[in-house]
């Protein structure tokens, strides 16, 4: 659902937008950041009609889009009073751990908002995908133990996941997992040679021709 132009500013449409947002969260409608932004904007205007548990769920859904900045975009819209209480505050804490790459604390904190997470299907898988992504920009090879810690998976589930990812370039060699190579985790000897453009030397050429 696209929310453009004058639709952005119609408080009468709040119910429609909320319904669409709920459908996005459960996966029956296509994900669109515009709808969540419109809903949060209207909540800022009238904090009394804000539904905190919907906010919490929408924030989780946005968080699962990482590394896209959707969560960041939404959190700026919410005033202090809407994020200070449960269930939104534990989601905010969760997000802080994730943004700081503090995965131990992150997985520990998911315990405190189990209910909200259970209402957002696919959240844990999406987060695991994101963790794999951030690993692939930092590591070329990583030990199985570290991988298991960061993904909070026991060894059999981990092996299953890696088997699924084998086609994408993830290979297991004993205790070490090789990650697919990309532009970010390879050492490139970057020689940045600033080319001298003609415009830079044109004035010199011009003046030397004039005085010649």
């Amino acid at each position: 659902m696209e929310v453009r132009g004058v639709d952005r500013y119609q408080p009468e449409k709040l119910a429609v937008l909320e319904r669409n947002l709920e459908e996005q969260i459960t996966g029956t409608a296509k994900y669109s950041l515009d709808v969540a932004t419109a809903v949060f904007r209207l909540y800022q205007l009238q904090p009394s009609v804000a539904r905190k548990e919907l906010i919490a769920r929408a924030l989780l859904k946005a968080l699962s889009q990482m590394p896209q900045q959707d969560y960041r975009i939404l959190i700026h819209l919410l005033p202090e009073r809407l994020v200070a209480e449960e269930p939104v505050s534990s989601v905010v804490l969760l997000a802080q751990h994730l943004e700081a790459c503090n995965l131990q604390d992150f997985w520990a904190a998911t315990g405190s908002c189990k209910d909200t997470i259970s209402k957002v299907p696919g959240f844990q898988d999406a987060i695991r995908n994101y963790v794999l992504h951030s690993l692939s920009i930092t590591f070329q090879r990583v030990s199985l133990r570290v991988l298991g810690d960061w993904l909070k998976l026991d060894s059999s589930a981990l092996q299953q996941l890696l088997a699924d990812k084998a086609k994408a370039g993830w290979k297991v060699q004993g205790e070490v997992v090789c990650l697919p190579l990309n532009a970010f985790n390879t050492a490139v000897q970057k020689r940045k040679a600033d080319l001298i453009s003609f415009e830079a030397v044109a004035p010199v050429v011009k003046s030397s021709v004039a005085t010649a």
């Binding site: 004058v6 590394p67 070329q140 070490v176 985790n185 970057k190």
Partner: protein, 526 residues
């Protein structure tokens, strides 16, 4: 809701000076005759001069005092009141009544433009000032009503009744209506603003009022969205204007508009953590101000331009502090000015001094507002600073995530490869924390950058690191190693050298030129 009965003070205004009467009559006549150069000169020169001479402390004559001179022309009276209120806001603290009346006036004026068939011509600078002032008064009202502490009980009662006045939804809807009715989006998508630029904004045979108001409302929407913290919608609402394809931007001719546009866009990019894009925008606008500063030296807007210049240097310091790689993309004179203003502070920012980030943010940020009206019955609930404090805390959290990394960076710079346990020992942490910190460092350099997409929020991820590394496991020993890339930059000083060469040759030429005494009689003979 409006307060239509005027103050008794205003009814006995007294004598309107003759020269002011003349000004009004001539302005009316020129507007009727669509004589743009004359209107422009009266608006930009005579109006400020008269304001300075006769109305330094107080307002202009109320519209009733001069309406007879202009045959009670409805539209002219609305325009006159717009100038009247603008002057009132600039010189005095407007009362609640004045604020409500000004709101009604803007509603009437925009109503006439949207629904009536207006075919007058007005200077584009006036139209921009109309939108700018409209939003400034909106911001001012939003801040006024949150300051409940100093108000008497009856003032608070009156405020409660004025909930329809300067309502954010109405403001946004007005801007949206102007954009839709003027068809500016379709026009700009079609030719990228070529026709507009070719005719300097005044397309012959048509009224420029609705079209230009639509154009300026695009910038207006960006501003309102940034003030409530909705950065991505702000950037999206600018479509089809694109700051990275600057050649086609009409706003370059109106410095106020151009500066506003770039200021709010760069701020939005900073809050969205897109530092390279913010750096590009700031670089462009600071070069622009550097070029056109002198042209406005005697203008009333000069102070405003200088203030925005300083604010944008503060924002640039933030961007550079969070993403040092941006420095290499800046123009030389911008970089030099930045180092002048913030040289030592930048060094401390690189080392993670959060207080300086806070200071720069406080100076450079716009005056945020909360969309919702305050809780009138509970004055201590949230103060006027609520919106600012909220955005500030989010920003400082962003900074906090990065400010602990400089020590790590310093160590990494010393090695081309180092084992994880050894690095952990140097930093006096354990390996798990170190791994987290390294991943965090890598993540902080992984930014979205605009790459030619449809609107300004699109982009792809690139690395903006000044030190590149990855972590590998040595298959032989099973130890983890941090491997750093070598960044070799061969910098050429071509531009700098050629500039100095030309300057030097000019100086030498001046020194060698014969004294100019013979030229004077030759001039006189003409």
């Amino acid at each position: 809701m409006a307060f239509r009965d005027y103050d008794p003070y205003e009814r006995d205004y007294g004598i309107v000076p003759d020269i002011v009467k003349q000004f009004v009559v001539y302005l009316y006549r020129h507007i009727r005759e669509r004589n743009i150069p004359e209107i422009e000169s009266m608006y930009e020169v005579s109006f400020p001069k008269l304001s300075d001479r006769y109305f330094k402390q107080g307002p202009w004559p109320p519209v009733d005092a001069i309406s007879d001179l202009v045959d009670q022309d409805h539209v002219f009276c609305l325009l006159y009141k717009e100038l009247y209120f603008r002057h009132l806001y600039a010189k005095t603290q407007p009362s609640l009544r004045a604020r409500c009346e000004s709101w009604d006036n803007y509603c009437d004026l925009f109503g006439v433009i949207l629904h009536g068939n207006v075919n007058m011509l007005l200077p584009n600078s006036w139209l921009w000032a109309m939108v700018d002032e409209f939003l400034y008064q909106f911001q001012s009202f939003a801040q006024y009503r949150t300051k409940l502490a100093g108000k008497s009980a009856e003032e608070v009662e009156l405020l409660k009744k004025c909930d329809k006045v300067w309502n954010i939804l109405d403001v946004l809807n007005v801007l949206q209506a102007l954009i839709d009715k003027s068809g500016i989006v379709a026009e700009l998508s079609r030719d990228g603003g070529a026709e507009l630029a070719a005719h300097d904004g005044y397309i012959p045979g048509q009224s420029n009022v609705l079209r230009m108001l639509g154009y300026f409302s695009l910038v207006g929407q960006l501003r309102v969205h940034c003030l409530i913290g909705d950065y991505s919608t702000g950037l999206q609402s600018l479509f089809p204007l694109n700051l990275f394809e600057r050649g086609k931007l009409y706003t370059q001719l109106l410095s106020g508009c151009h500066i506003t546009l770039f200021y709010y866009s760069s701020f939005a990019y900073v809050m969205l953590q897109r530092y390279t894009d913010a750096g590009r925008c700031l670089n462009a606008i600071l070069s622009y101000i550097h070029r056109v500063k002198q042209l406005h030296a005697r203008n009333a807007a000069y102070d405003q331009i200088l203030k925005k210049n300083e604010q944008m240097y503060a924002l640039l310091a933030l961007v550079v502090g969070l993403c040092p790689a941006v420095q290499s993309t800046l123009d030389e004179h911008v970089l030099v000015a930045l180092k002048d203003k913030f040289g030592e502070k930048l060094q401390r920012m690189f080392r993670g001094d959060e207080g300086l980030f806070d200071e720069a943010f406080m100076y450079g940020c716009p005056k945020f507002i909360t969309a919702a009206p305050p809780a009138y019955d509970n004055p201590s609930a949230a103060g006027p600073q609520e919106a600012y404090l909220r955005q500030r805390s989010l920003f400082l959290r962003q900074v906090g995530g990065v400010s602990r990394l400089p020590l790590l960076k310093q160590y990494l710079l010393l090695y081309s490869s180092i084992s994880l346990p050894k690095l952990a020992g140097l930093l006096e942490t354990d390996e798990a924390t170190l791994r987290t910190a390294l991943a965090c460092l890598k993540k902080s350099n992984y930014c979205l950058q605009w790459d030619g997409g449809r609107d300004m929020t699109s982009g792809s991820f690139t690395s903006t690191a000044d030190i590149d590394f990855y972590i590998d496991v040595d298959t032989a020993t099973g130890a983890e190693l941090v491997m750093l890339s070598d960044n070799i930059t061969t910098r050429h000083q071509a531009e700098l050298l050629s500039r100095h060469i030309v300057k030097f040759e000019a100086i030498v030429r001046d020194l060698e030129a014969p004294p100019v005494a013979v030229a004077a009689p030759a001039q006189a003979a003409y």
